[in-house]
Symmetry: C2
Subunit: 333 residues, 2 copies
Amino acid sequence: MAVTIREVASAAGVSVSTVSRAFTAPDQVQPTTRRRILDAAAELGYSPNPAARSLRGGGTGTLGLIVPDIANPFFPPIIKAMQARARHLGYTVLVADSDEREADELAAIAAVSKRVDGLILWASTLTEGRLHELAGQMPLVVVNRHVPGIPEVRISLSAGIAQAAEQLKAYGHRRCVFINASRAELSRGKSIQESFKALDLSLSELGPYEPRFETGVHAATLVAAHDATAVIAHNDLVALGVLHQMANLGMSVPRDVSVIGIDDTLLASVSTPSLTTIRIDPEEIATRAGDLLIETIARTTGRAGQGLEVHSPFVEIGSRLIPRASTGPAPAH
Amino acid sequence: MAVTIREVASAAGVSVSTVSRAFTAPDQVQPTTRRRILDAAAELGYSPNPAARSLRGGGTGTLGLIVPDIANPFFPPIIKAMQARARHLGYTVLVADSDEREADELAAIAAVSKRVDGLILWASTLTEGRLHELAGQMPLVVVNRHVPGIPEVRISLSAGIAQAAEQLKAYGHRRCVFINASRAELSRGKSIQESFKALDLSLSELGPYEPRFETGVHAATLVAAHDATAVIAHNDLVALGVLHQMANLGMSVPRDVSVIGIDDTLLASVSTPSLTTIRIDPEEIATRAGDLLIETIARTTGRAGQGLEVHSPFVEIGSRLIPRASTGPAPAH
DNA sequence: CTCCTCTATGAAAACGTTCCCGCAATTTCA
DNA sequence: TGAAATTGCGGGAACGTTTTCATAGAGGAG
């Protein structure tokens, strides 16, 4: 059915070895023969069979990406960016989601692991032991998870948080609420508390809840009880819940209360009022994670020690505040 | 590195042929040997190498899905649902996006076509000729596109549109506006006009524009000029633009004007007010498209004429109105 | 009891590539 | 100019499976 290397070889009057070299090691074949081969290949519409190639040991040319939830609006731009980056580097990306359950994550890994050269695991639910085991079997990069010895991409919200605190301070807010929905690096780090403390802002923490719209709706009613004038939500979705409930309560945003989201998803830019949020750049994270995985693959393959380009297996992605219409001066009390 | 069929064979004391059969044709091997093989395989952690399998001719076990834009919130739930369905059927899904440009679509197809058993093309930008050419090379299913002779999944908005018209009629609306952003089946079909005409509602069409938030913002200012009390937008995103601008103009939704979206994306359920929209069920469309492709693959493989199960290569997906808070009684004039 | 039909299994070819080896022709160097 | 090194190319094995074909044994019919 499909045209094989053999047909190209006979069409160009050379052996299959030479055709193979013409593609994979162009400088090992004489320019004139090479051109003849490439022409023949183009005319016949030949392209190498990835299955045969990877069977022979050349890798699959595919990167695996496992995210908690494809439908979470935070991820599609990242997936898209990683696809673009990978294609540019000659790779394809195979995406699956874990639904944040260990069983599903294992199923997803099983489904893709034999088809990819390496895996990016986002917020993996697996134990350290399992992750190390997996890392022993194939190149691995974890995102939003720290496991000693495994290459890691980390998202740091501290810059964005600090900017948010500054903005709120400048607007005259004094008492704020943080709606926590168990985002690891938020609940774990003390950086939010510290950022606010440093500016003499009081910050009460609500939760942890589930990261859902309804969480924001529910938490909004508690804000007034805390006598707070500003809310930082676990993510944009929760922030929209807050916005929604504030409207129901007859409160105006940002006149009566300021609201800040996290992630800068599409939701933030299309809400009414548009949502001030802490942006994590999807392109940057996709690029860095993809590149880190490809490096790790290269190192495993053995093409390593050819230079000093042994990057640290730890990459940090920053964040920054995107001011929009949901934040404003604190109401006079 | 990885454990092969040969190791399982020697561990179980049988030949590789028998191991292969134990997996692919379980009833051709004696129960006792089969169990022995399965046990050995489980203990060694064996799973067949997909590359070798597909090289031998058994297909890749992967479905290709090419959508216009992964980041469009309409698609992630569909991708997710198709992944789930496919995994259930023993397949994996490889997703790519075309960015609605022919060059990118061709690049995406080139990148995935050799790795999949068949392709689902969503709103393809390719010419009929190219599509037929492609369909000659591999199993193909098109969605939101009609090409004679190619299996097709079609989304029909007529039911949802009719329900929307009924609701608006019941609420006492008389003059409506439709914001068109070149969605093929909307601009092409006269069904919207007909649905509204049938209920004696006037419907003005704006556009066509690009399907963006700003389109809604822009169009909203024109609605008043049309003396209309209800707006149907090309999709939820555009509808949110309308919502946004109405708030800016000091108009209240739904008190002054009713707004209806299309697609029932996440956006619709989290906006303020929540958006009445026409829902297209992502699970249904994913399931039907996936199943149709798998059928087409099976037919191509030759496993066809074993029954009368030759379904029509044409599937229609319905729609329905999801009433939420953005529609209400027309204002007394 | 013999012959024939099944059934369960093994041996080996084939899928399309890559890459190691070997060979010839050419180039380099003393 | 002769030997050595280099270059360009072909032959063939190997990757891990599936599947055809062959074979040995079991069981049934006559």
